[in-house]
Amino acid sequence: MQKRLVGTLVAIGLITTGCVTINIYFPAAAAEKAADKIIDEVWQLKPEAKPDAKSGKPANPAAENKGEVK
């Protein structure tokens, strides 16, 4: 459900020529959200606990899985 700002700009409607249509696909809101997240990280604005994906996981993955023999 990608939010896309699709704006249609009917700009010039001269008598002799037809009209020009410009489609804007750039997802400005999403880009702003992404920028905020990156800026917060680079400038360390919101200190957040950073769990290390690798060492933070349980050492024995078997616990979360099932084995079955038929």
Binding site: K54, K57, P61, A62, N65, G67
Partner: protein, 643 residues
């Protein structure tokens, strides 16, 4: 003068000398013992300097026919300054002493006759900020420092004709408004002499003893440097006959040249220096002008002899001889030693360049001695074939050519890797011990604008099979985001050798691996479409219990327990028909598949023989980092490693 007059007001004629003028002078003399004198001047000019409404109060004045003197006077020009003077109108002589602060003296003796004038200057502990108004129309201003100065200057027809000035500067700070040209605590001794006949003949010497200077983009740390130079100055040209610059930490350079004053450029310059220290020269002059992120954190050693010739503002010819040079870059683990080189460059002519290197290190890989011979011109470069020994093989590079085009330099080369034993290579790179050889034939490599394109294939012979790397390319190669692209095709890898090498648990058979659309960032895969499958053909196919455990452990384990609970625990190894796994990596997630579809899953190991074991995977989306961690645990002896 009347005997009864207690106070006299005099209008004094304007004093106009070739370089200065005093206008609107009114003197008020009070006859007492001692006499006092008040002088006000509407306008005083010295060359381009101008003051308005000056008043001078002299508590001890003397006015006689041919002498006017003022002792312990106070000059008020906004700031009150102690001033004494002696003026002899007939002799056209003026002695002036200003003492703006205790211990600070600015003394001048002027003597003029017709259109000639002589000045003797003597300054003791002068505050250098007072010179701010006299500086050429640049925005550099002094903010601190003292000057001791003595000098003699002659003017002829309002123009300077001779000078000899010595000055010692101490603790000088100057800066422009933007802070791009500035000094602090600068201490220096200067001497400037000149005389004019048809043209100016001058000589200058300067000793920089202490303090630091920043002159964008260069920074000169506290240290000693000295310059001596002599030459001519005409309306059109500034000529340096000979000059010597001694730079502590780098060496001595000599130069001569001609500056075109009208065009504002170097007409001609010849500069040479022998035995210059490479590291000092790199830090002081090369690093500040290096492009962003390039040539950073190098450590150099060795010396160089340099010659540069400029004509009409452009380098015409340059040569550099490097003796016993070495370069080291710690972050990239790069070092090159024993560099001896003769480099030359000339406008409109190709020149021979030779470099010999005694060895080096690229990461953990040692490289042997090699020689480079190149023909270098302004817009093209060509190298003779060279051979760089690596372990028991070599990288041989042929037909290196570079051309300068509108968008930058374009490089092409062809190369080959002469067989390097994988045993030695894997040991050198501290990888698991591998057997076989690495060799490659690379018909063409193209490099331009940070992008590299390899035509042809790299061929590795490892694990008794072949690995072919094709369509290799790289973008932003020396930038912050280097991406590498390629396709890899592996055929007939011996599973037995492979599983031994990576201690995965023994498997027998042959594997083909294809990796297409591979994209690496920082040598880690970002995207690929990989398929591993048993090779075609007839060969023993066995898989050990431990290997099965490891394969299943990759998926989260449970397999070991499952085997242990069944009768299968009595078998050390199993037969199989086919093994296969595919992973399509994108955005950190691996889309998994096997050799065949199974109900809501996919077959990874298809059993065969007695007993036959089939392994089926169900999860089609696997986090890539997690999968890597599991592979690592599996290859580290089959037991989960707790970090």
């Amino acid at each position: 003068m009347g005997a009864y007059a207690q106070e006299l007001q005099l209008r004094v004629d304007d004093i106009v000398a070739p370089t200065f003028s005093l206008r609107g002078i009114v003197a008020r003399l009070t006859l007492a013992t001692p006499a006092t004198l008040e002088i006000s001047i509407d306008q005083a000019k010295f060359q381009a300097q101008e003051w308005r409404k000056l008043t001078l109060h002299c508590p001890q004045a003397r006015i006689e026919n041919d002498e006017i003197a003022c002792r312990q006077g106070v000059l008020d020009s906004g700031e009150k300054i102690a001033l004494s003077f002696h003026y002899w109108p007939k002799k056209q002589q003026l002695e002036l002493l200003l003492q703006p602060a205790s211990g600070e003296r600015w003394q001048a003796q002027l003597h003029w006759r017709k259109d000639k004038m002589t000045a003797s200057l003597d300054v003791k502990q002068g505050k250098i900020m007072r010179l701010n108004g006299w500086l050429p129309a640049q925005d550099i201003r002094f903010s601190q420092g003292v000057v001791d100065l003595s000098g003699k200057l002659d003017w002829d027809k309002a123009a300077l004709s001779r000078f000899d000035v010595s000055a010692t500067l101490g603790n000088v700070a100057f800066s422009d408004a933007a802070g791009t040209r500035a000094s602090e605590k600068l201490g220096a001794t200067l001497r400037l002499q000149g005389g004019r006949a048809d043209a100016w003949r001058w000589n200058a010497s300067a000793d920089w003893r202490e303090g630091e200077v920043y002159w964008q983009p260069f920074y000169f740390a506290p240290g000693t440097r000295s310059l001596s130079a002599q030459g001519w100055l005409t309306e059109q040209q500034a000529i340096v006959d000979q000059a010597q610059l001694v730079w502590n930490g780098i060496g001595t350079a000599r130069f001569n040249g001609v500056w075109d004053r009208a065009a504002g450029r170097i007409d001609q310059l010849q500069l040479s220096g022998n035995g210059l220290a490479l590291d000092g020269a790199y830090r002081t002059f090369l690093l500040p002008i290096a492009p962003a992120g390039m040539l950073r954190n190098l450590r150099l050693s060795g010396t160089a002899d340099a010659n540069v010739n400029l004509k009409q503002g452009q380098v015409n010819e340059a040569s550099l001889a490097i003796h016993q040079g070495a370069v080291q870059q710690d972050e990239k683990q790069l070092s090159i030693n024993g560099i001896n080189a003769n480099l030359a460059w000339q406008q409109n002519q190709a020149r021979d360049n030779r470099i010999s290197v005694s060895g080096g290190k690229l990461g953990k890989l040692e490289i042997g001695p090699f020689k480079v011979k190149a023909s270098v011109a302004a817009d093209r470069m060509a190298l003779d074939p060279l051979r760089i020994p690596i372990l028991d093989g070599a990288l041989s590079v042929d037909a290196v050519e570079a051309r300068r085009e509108a968008e930058g330099w374009k490089w092409t080369l062809s190369a080959a890797v002469q067989p390097i034993s994988m045993l030695r290579l894997s040991q050198a790179l501290q990888l698991p011990t591998m057997h076989g050889t690495l060799s490659a034939i690379i018909p063409q490599v193209r490099y331009a604008q940070q992008s590299l394109q390899v035509d042809g294939a790299l061929l590795f012979k490892v694990f008794d099979g072949t690995v072919v790397v094709k369509d290799l390319a790289a973008s932003d190669l020396f930038g912050p985001t280097p991406h590498v692209y390629g396709n890899i095709d592996m055929r007939n890898l011996d599973l037995d050798l492979l599983t031994q090498t990576f201690s995965f648990g023994s498997m027998q058979g042959r594997l083909d691996v294809t990796v297409s659309d591979l994209e690496l960032f920082g040598w880690k895969p970002v995207r690929f479409d990989a398929k591993v499958a048993s090779s075609a053909g007839d060969y023993p196919r066995k898989i050990s219990q431990r290997a099965v455990e490891n394969i299943t452990a990759l998926g989260g384990g449970g397999g070991a327990a499952a085997i242990q609970r069944s009768f299968l625990r009595f078998f050390e190894q199993f037969g199989y028909k086919r093994i296969g796994l595919s992973c399509r990596l994108s955005r950190g997630v691996c889309e998994m598949g096997g050799i065949a579809e199974a109900p809501s899953g996919y077959v990874i190991v298809q059993g065969g023989g007695i007993p036959a074991l089939t392994v089926i995977g169900y999860n089609r989306r696997v986090d890539w980092d997690e999968l890597l961690a599991r592979i690592q645990r599996a290859t580290q002896g089959g037991k989960p490693i707790v970090k």
